[in-house]
Amino acid sequence: MTTDRDDTDQPLRLRIPEPARGQHAPDRVRYISAAGEMQKPALDEKVERVALMRKQLVRVLDDEGRAVGDWAPDISVDEKRRGLRNMMLVRSYDARLLRAHRQGKTSFYMQSLGEEAIACGQQQALLPGDMHFPTYRQQGLLISADYPLVTMMNQVLSNEHDPLHGRQLPVMYSSKAHGFFTISGNLATQYIQAVGWAMASALRGGTEIAAAWIGEGATAESDFHAALVFASTYQAPVILNIVNNHWAISTPEDFARGASATFADRGYGFSIPAIRVDGNDYLAVYAASQWAAERARKNLGPTLIEWITLRVGAHSTSDDPSVYRPPEETEQFPLGDPIQRLRQHLEFLDEWDEERHVALQAEVDTQVNEAFAEADSHGSVKTGDVGSARTMFDDVFAELPRHLREQRDRVEELS
């Protein structure tokens, strides 16, 4: 050991990232490429070459609503209209349930306002049999897979028709049949599970792939690392989605990202091809998801996608962002609104117009309202229409063991 400290040693000082409010420009999207600017690499392009795109942003829709460049996906107008409809349905669904919360009909709700394109677009690019491991902000996956709205609402209301028997917090859906793994309240745990599921498919010589979902804030959790290690080592057929909506409750993305330029960078630490994609551009979402899915299906391994978007609303109904959030953020967000952008594109193609849009809006609102009326007719946790407390003891194990039988008997005695 050298024995002396230099007298001129400067005192160290920690870097604490700034809070977002007041310190950052409310437009905090780094590295925006123009629509069509980025090339689309071959499915088996060398990871080093894909890495050159780490500070770019895959974008397809330009300001006029044109779909431009390599990444413009080859999908029919009907499919695009379907995407528009799905997104509008998600938004209408969210609005209705947020209102239900305000009306005191549910204990909790989480919307995905502004982020609808990501889940809807990726679902459209995958196949039945594939499995998503979602967070609480991917209701678009279920809605785009035609999971009945009323069933979702029953879950949110925790009423007697809730397929989860009121066990889970609202929005913690589960539907194997719709490729939607049961949501955990614990952040990041699902990421490595998705990799495990994909590994299983590959171990068995299956053809199904998995999609893992995480928020940018939760990438700091350790299970994110486990997922990247396993995905990289075993080259699992999985899409690793990071939804960067710039916020983790009150914490700006900087705390999780640290000194990195982007979250896509995380992939390169593991030689996992990683791209940044405009998450408010439905066509870019579809194209990037499709590319990643194709890589997985061709046994070319995992792909990481950082989706750039904005959490437009509060974190949840328990949150009040006015304390920590720059008020003008939504207007200044440079990637716009995903529904408007896809609408503009369809209008540009002359496949859509104001009239049809208004009609569709009315149609989805009616669909949502009818579904809600039905769900609401079954009551909710707030009205006490929650089914039997007996059900609490089911499914702890496949078969009810004696101690739970005794406890269940006791509940019945009491009520």
């Binding site: 000082r13 920690l14 604490i16 990232p17 809070p19 409010r21 204990s107 909790f108 925790s158 009423n159 809730d162 028997h165 009121g166 066990r167 889970q168 917090l169 609202p170 913690m172 955990s184 309240g185 614990n186 952040l187 804030g217 939760a218 700091a220 959790e221 350790s222 299970d223 983790a248 409750i249 009150s250 914490t251 705390f255 999780a256 640290g258 328990s318 949150d319 304390v323 920590y324 946790v381 929650v386 089914g387 407390a389 059900t391 609490m392 003891f393 702890v396 101690h403 739970l404 406890q407 509940v411 009491l414 009520s415």
Partner: protein
């Protein structure tokens, strides 16, 4: 004395501790600029600057691991886990590291950290915002485990925990943050301002870790409780017209065995209550201790009224929660044995 909610009392404890010792640093998810999702650290960053109170990435393992390292340097980190349900990623750092550093280094290093976390249910939080994992810490040698039930104790015990030379797991039942919840979820909320334990001394004071408190004196039976269940037990006793002695354990490790034995020897009957699942809960340890020390004073088996051995449900929260009816019924049964 100032009337405070438990949240305000916890905030005040931080203020006092940070004021009197500049080695105290506070961090965790959303605790800095925002002041925590329950606002327990509100105002600290503004007052002490972002080198004393700051936000962290969402990594419970990182938060506790970094705190252990900081403590080794000589600081006194007091960190927040956003919900007790999310402490598991940090479990290894707590049990294998914080709890072990002093022993394995023969005192060469130590880990005087406080790991605070809101615990328990009653807020319709579902299975991941309602858990009471205290038993999982009490089995680990080298950890102290504190569960608070009111503003007065919360402030005094948090100051004591921060000043303690060992790692302390500090559990704050979120359902009593704003008032002495007695389990009657269908009645109007009673605020702390209406309760004597909401009167909090100003400035510095501390409550000894390891000392229970007789919450209610009585002679018919002894209830061993902590956290929210202290208030539930009191309500049950009053509603049943049973002269129960309610002990608020306050600290689970080290346990105030004398207070327990004294009461049980007096009453001859013992009821153990907690919100955590029954099997292998801390109530089991209490049963073991009581029967070991007081068997020949017991006129009936010790009973446990606890959460069922299921995940904490959302809609059936009140069927899960050991409320005053269940507790009261057990009291009656205990007296009739």
């Amino acid at each position: 004395m100032t009337a405070m909610t438990m949240i305000e009392a916890i905030r005040d404890a931080h203020m006092v501790a940070m004021e009197s010792d500049d080695r105290v640093v506070v961090f965790g998810e959303d605790v800095g600029y925002f002041g925590g999702v329950f606002r327990c650290t509100q105002g600290l960053q503004e007052r002490f600057g972002d080198h004393r109170c700051f936000d962290s990435p969402i990594s419970e393992a990182g938060i506790v691991g970094a705190a252990v390292g900081m403590a080794a340097y000589g600081l006194r980190p007091c960190v927040e886990i956003q919900f007790a349900d999310y402490v598991y990623p940090a479990y290894d750092q707590i049990v294998s590291e914080a709890a072990r550093v002093r022993h394995r280094s023969a005192g060469d290093f130590s880990a005087p950290i406080v790991v605070r976390m809101p615990t328990g249910g009653g807020i319709f939080g579902g299975q991941t915002h309602s858990q009471s994992p205290e038993a999982l810490f009490t089995h680990v040698s080298g950890l102290k485990t504190v569960v608070v039930s009111n503003p007065h104790d919360a402030k005094g015990l948090l100051i004591a925990a921060i000043e303690d030379d060992d790692p302390v797991v500090f559990l704050e039942p979120k359902r009593v943050y704003n008032g002495p919840f007695d389990g009657h979820h269908d009645r109007p909320i009673v605020p702390w301002s209406k309760h004597p334990l909401g009167d909090v001394p100003d400035g510095h004071y501390s409550i000894e870790i390891g000392k229970a408190r007789v919450h209610r004196e009585g002679s018919d039976l002894t209830v061993l409780a902590y956290g929210t269940l202290v208030h539930v037990a009191q309500a049950a006793a009053e509603e049943q017209g049973i002269d129960a002695e309610v002990i608020d354990l306050r600290t689970l490790v080290p346990l105030d065995v004398d207070a327990i034995v004294e009461s049980v020897e007096k009453t001859g009957r013992c009821l153990v209550v907690h919100e955590a699942t029954l099997t292998s809960g801390f109530g089991a340890e209490l049963c073991a201790v009581v029967q070991e020390r007081c068997l020949f004073h017991l006129e009936a088996p010790i009973r446990r009224v606890c959460g069922w051995d299921t995940p904490y449900p959302h809609a059936h929260e009140w069927s899960y929660f050991p409320g005053p009816d269940r507790v009261g019924r057990a009291m009656r049964e205990l007296l009739s044995t």
